[in-house]
Chain length 338, copies 2
Amino acid sequence: MASIGIKEIASRAKVSPATVSRVLSNPELVSQKTRNKVKKIIDETGYRPNRLGASLRTRKTGNIFAIIPDISKPVNAGIVRAIENRAHSFGYSVLLGDTQGMNERGLQYAELVKMGQADGILLFSGDLPFDVNNDKPLYEQIPPLVNANERVDTDGLVQIAVDNVAAAKDAMQHLLELGHSRIAAVTGPMNVPSSCERFNGYKLALENAGLTYDPKLVVNGDYSVNSGEDAVDQLMLLRLRPTAVFCFNDDMAIGLMKKLQTHGYDIPADISVIGFDDIRYAKYTTPALTTVYQPMEEIGLACIDALLDQLKGNPPQPRCDFLPHSLEIRESTGPVSK
Amino acid sequence: MASIGIKEIASRAKVSPATVSRVLSNPELVSQKTRNKVKKIIDETGYRPNRLGASLRTRKTGNIFAIIPDISKPVNAGIVRAIENRAHSFGYSVLLGDTQGMNERGLQYAELVKMGQADGILLFSGDLPFDVNNDKPLYEQIPPLVNANERVDTDGLVQIAVDNVAAAKDAMQHLLELGHSRIAAVTGPMNVPSSCERFNGYKLALENAGLTYDPKLVVNGDYSVNSGEDAVDQLMLLRLRPTAVFCFNDDMAIGLMKKLQTHGYDIPADISVIGFDDIRYAKYTTPALTTVYQPMEEIGLACIDALLDQLKGNPPQPRCDFLPHSLEIRESTGPVSK
DNA sequence: CATAACATGTAAATCGTTTACATCCACTGA
DNA sequence: TCAGTGGATGTAAACGATTTACATGTTATG
């Protein structure tokens, strides 16, 4: 594994290091003849330019840091996969930072990019891991960054996500059209933006339908399957039970459905359940889960493209791009039982 | 985001760059007084040493490259999460390389570590992305590497995995004890080691039970949910249908169960189904999936520990550590119907 | 034939650290 | 008093590439 350097190549090819470098990065600047000579040596020796050396000089690492709340969630894994794929196709590598929901972990990761480990950040968590003030434009205070999915509540960022409010309203609309009026919600952690947004959508839909919001019908989950199961206890003990439940992600919906069924409830005859995300397993539950599809692939691609644009030196265009979601109506929702 | 360097700190503190460096990495070498002086400047300026510079000099990047077949698979995501977590706790970052099943992608990633992007490799794919010969011991030809889950068929590697053969036999044993004798198998891609190993376990178990192996009962899947569904067509068209199916991963089991149910089969009354992996969703299917648990967390930790040991300079101890699996008996398997 | 213009190659500076070695200084013990 | 010791700091050379300014060689042109 001992590797040789550009100087060695240069001396073997009887040219200068500069020429070797040019052969590699600006071949058109060197004559056909020397180019071949150098290329031959490179092939023979299996020489690979050391990226650290190059990075140090060019001040570009070719790395992108992805800060993710929890890679073990299928939505995130799906997005990361798309990201990784596209990043590599542009010659970038992706460094993974899973915060496991801990804010401080995000700060540690940000530290790494301050230390020059990466050129830019893909932020999938809702906390901006930088101290910023209002004296200067935001993008002068942070490295190139695009914020996706969990939208940080700050102006001046490039953001990419689905419109959680609208999506939640769509989900609710579907239930309302089925005649439901006692619709429960199982939220995610209320300190994460996506959950708040979906909650807003939930309340808005209720309001638009002329229904009154009943706090007893909302239980705070944490996006885990378990919390979906736990929600059942709270909800089904109510004197007036909900006829439908809107779970803010599929994991909770899956847990909730299972628990409901073990208690003898029939879905959707007794109670309708709707999820959010459309993870791979959503259509394989029994009954198949009605849910809101998030375009993981598209989100991943859009993120990379937006970040790469900044890395090319273009000033960031603060904005929020909403990518289209869609309601996948399957078997877990049905008309309210009389 | 313009950052300053060690020289700037040095001059502001009126000391030499070397002293600043020492304050940061070997504080005991510098007097209390100058130490404080330098620390003060560092705090004031928010200086962070550039990792590239340091890496270049020390020839250590603090990066680990994880080569994964498919991060969107929950097992892999779970392992990666554990890895990332522990790696960071030791000051290492993890670079992600998803091969999406493509061998060549693995080669590209290996290229990156040859270029000095990472200090070591965690290889979760079954292809060793290096040309090796037998003239020299393997570990002199490749960077520090530990191979997990999909075991490369080469001597001299440090490997960590569950014992797929034994695990498959355990799964089969369970079905055999329930009285099944026509047991089908839905394999993974037969060019990946885990699938071959499980297949061997399948055949061995049959053999031990005195049953004859029937090729018509094995269908080649690809570890995807879809291929599990497709297997149904092939299996249930047989004149003599299987009474149980061993799916080589949970995704396929989930697809297969669903399809079976839509065709009116009752699981496990008509047919038993067993999976492999014990992904988070396995216990939430209907019926809950009997499956083989893989200790994702432990695998991740063991990988990092083994790699870090090598990175400390200890020569690798070629071996294969089997981590304990366990059979999770749930509702998808039952006694054979008479 | 002198000179401009262009193609090609070279030498040296640079990026931000670390580290082997040199230096300085104060203190100890004979 | 002075050699010796040892601790604190400074100096300068790496590390491995890229890039700039400059030098050389070659060809074309008037």
